[in-house]
Symmetry: C2
Subunit: 419 residues, 2 copies
């Protein structure tokens, strides 16, 4: 008999209990012994009846929970990271299965990097039901990964998909997303790109086999986008996605999360709604893409249960000893030139466009597309796209325009990705 | 030191040797010891110099090769299956890595089903660099899989992609594909759907955890397609793909390979050129898709090398003991209704369309789309599409039309898939 304890009876914990019960006979066939729930810990006991959990298994105390002998501890509390409990469980020799990306991304050296790291399973931490963590542990192991692109946040992708239908503002769509349960009451973690960047750190570390440090990754969310940007994208065969990117440049890594324009024939351009996708360019495999539901009760719980089964079969996680310690890349967020999309409000006066173009030109920033619309209050809306350029040069040009008073407010800039 | 022997120095074997050499230092870090090539066996020795293999490692004898002590044997001969060598290697306690889907699909019970099956690694047998085999072994393990769809043959997908550009016949495109190396001189295995069905058997067995028997799967290739079908597809927002499908219906399984029409918003509709894709509908994960290069020297070799590393890390394959023995499905290829696309030549006479429609109608086959074009020799080209119906009823209707002399030649029928 395999003893499992579950920490947290929220969406994921509840889903795990449902799946374990529904398929207990199949799982006994797969692992050769029965999987038995021996303890649950939760701050509140209100879901016990609904989930069919015997009250004798319940505790609201971490100590009591940890004192229960078990083979596998499932950490499904999330959010405020119970790092201490996870560490103590690993030290006691329990295998730990977690979906807690915030915990893993910010404390990877103490968890996966510890001497117990090979007993820590975290398929569910990234992209729900997409088996991307085990793919890096297994089928992709021989590859030198060159590029990792992710659509890692279902909330953002839902909002961007809705905005691409046209004519609705970010705030309007966010409100609907909250009503439908696609966005939290406080959506900051999602819409500011933090959640996506946690996943970038985890999957980036696995893909490049070197620790990618969360605190060093530039993060930009989707709140600056407006309907005009989506109209431009639609007219010009592009889509807008929140992309988390990591790319090897010799001994440096470019890693960042940002909204960006993808050509509509990019494999990631068709990933719509609350779905997630991971695009991997391997030295030997070439381009691969993985696609599916990135969150939700059952997709995430299914990944937790797959990890329980893997742990029950005696599998261990081999990467722990190699990565997740000190970052070894010479530099994270190496400078990488991109083409840019720029939207700004300029004074609607003779000669202004020439001044702006001059600011670009003298820095060798080559323009690709220019469109000007008249706007009220003597201001003109201008959209530029550039050929590949450094972001530093571009910022310098935009600062010069602002200092000279030609541009009003903060220009909006967004990277463009090629295939 | 980990001793590896390689059987076969063709495309895959050569690729494996290149990758092992190129990344030997990284691999030593990953598995903790050096991977050493100790023996190669090949009928001819002409690639030794090009691959930088010391002649002392070479033999053209299976016996001599098998007598060399080694930890891992890579079987990269393919085609005519060296089943006996693989079995003897497993019995000697060697771990075996193979890309040979024909061997595995037709002799799975003796290989994966044997007591040594957990030492047999075959990620490379399906879909080149896409880590789909390990995904079924790991991240998807908790799921009850409901549907598996595959674009499993790059040659067919290349041909279909080219034909979708319009106006070219199957034979013309096949000739170009052969010139470009996308199709073999004898393309039967690919274009008749046999190769795709081998993969369906393997992945179907993993997905549904019951042996899917190759000999019982109906297989249809792509040779019956003509430019008219692609024109209809383009006008009606569909694409044509060779699909291998397995779907659970209670205790029965529907399993088959066939060309079919997919709506252009189906995730598999964007898979073009020589790429492969796997679509999985799991009870808990929902819809997932995996996409990438399905063949080629380095993608396939990368999967072989990932298996070498997994074997070197002491991993074993846990499914062997559960599946790949006797089929346990009550029935393979359960009856499943589909919508159908039909193209036939009918006599261009008054009342004939009524007769045809009557043959459909009296069997409750409901028509969805009808288009008739006049053609020479008193014949009319007619295209029908139906609402979902049983193939038996449809065949009956077509037989009746032929018997009554209204239809000339063999009608072409093709399934249509919904999302």
């Amino acid at each position: 008999m395999l003893k499992v304890g579950i920490l947290g009876l929220g969406t994921v914990g509840g889903g795990v209990i449902k799946i374990l019960r529904e398929r207990s006979r199949d799982f006994k066939n797969i692992v050769g012994e029965e999987i038995q729930l021996v303890k649950v810990m939760s701050r509140r006991d209100h879901r016990l009846a609904e989930l069919g959990i015997d009250r004798s298994l319940y505790t609201d105390s971490f100590e009591e929970f940890l004192n229960e002998p078990m083979d596998i501890l499932v950490e499904a509390i999330g959010g405020e990271a119970p790092a201490d409990v996870v560490k103590r469980a690993l030290e006691k020799g329990y295998k730990v299965v977690t979906a807690n990306k915030a915990l893993l991304a910010t404390q990877s050296d103490e968890l996966m990097g510890s001497e117990y790291g090979e007993a820590l399973f975290f398929e569910a931490s990234c992209c729900g039901g997409i088996p991307i963590v085990s793919s890096f542990e297994e089928g992709l192991m021989s590859n030198k990964i060159e590029q990792l692109l992710g659509i890692f946040n279902g909330t953002c992708n839902y909002i961007l998909t809705e905005m691409s239908k046209g004519g609705v503002s970010f705030d309007e769509v966010l409100k609907v997303a909250q009503e439908l349960g696609y966005a939290e009451a406080d959506p900051t973690f999602d819409i500011e790109g933090i959640d996506a960047t946690h996943k970038l750190c985890l999957l980036g570390s696995l893909a490049f086999r070197e620790k990618v440090d969360f605190s060093k990754i530039p993060v930009e969310g989707i709140t600056g986008l407006n309907p005009e940007d989506f109209a431009w994208a639609a007219e010009n065969d592009h889509v807008i996605k929140l992309i988390s990117m990591a790319e090897r440049h010799g001994s440096e890594l470019f890693a960042a999360t940002f909204p960006c324009l993808l050509p509509s024939n990019h494999p990631m351009a068709h990933v719509n709604g609350a779905n997630n996708a991971v695009f991997v360019r391997g030295e030997y495999t070439g381009d691969l893409m993985f696609y599916g539901a990135g969150a939700g009760e059952l997709p995430t719980a299914s990944a937790v249960v797959s990890d329980i089964l893997a742990a029950a079969q005696g599998k261990v996680r081999h990467w722990s000893h190699h990565i997740f310690r000190e970052p070894t890349f010479a530099k994270l967020s190496a400078e990488k030139p991109f083409s840019y999309y720029l939207r700004l409000k300029a004074k609607d006066e003779a000669g202004v466009l020439a001044k702006l173009c001059d600011s670009f030109g003298k820095r060798d920033i080559s323009l690709c597309f220019v469109h000007q619309n008249p706007a009220p209050q003597g201001l003109a809306d201008i959209i530029f796209t550039t050929h590949p350029t450094s972001s530093a040069e571009l910022m310098e040009a935009l600062n010069e325009m602002a200092e000279q008073g030609w541009v009003s407010g903060k220009p909006f800039m967004m990277r463009m990705l090629e295939i």
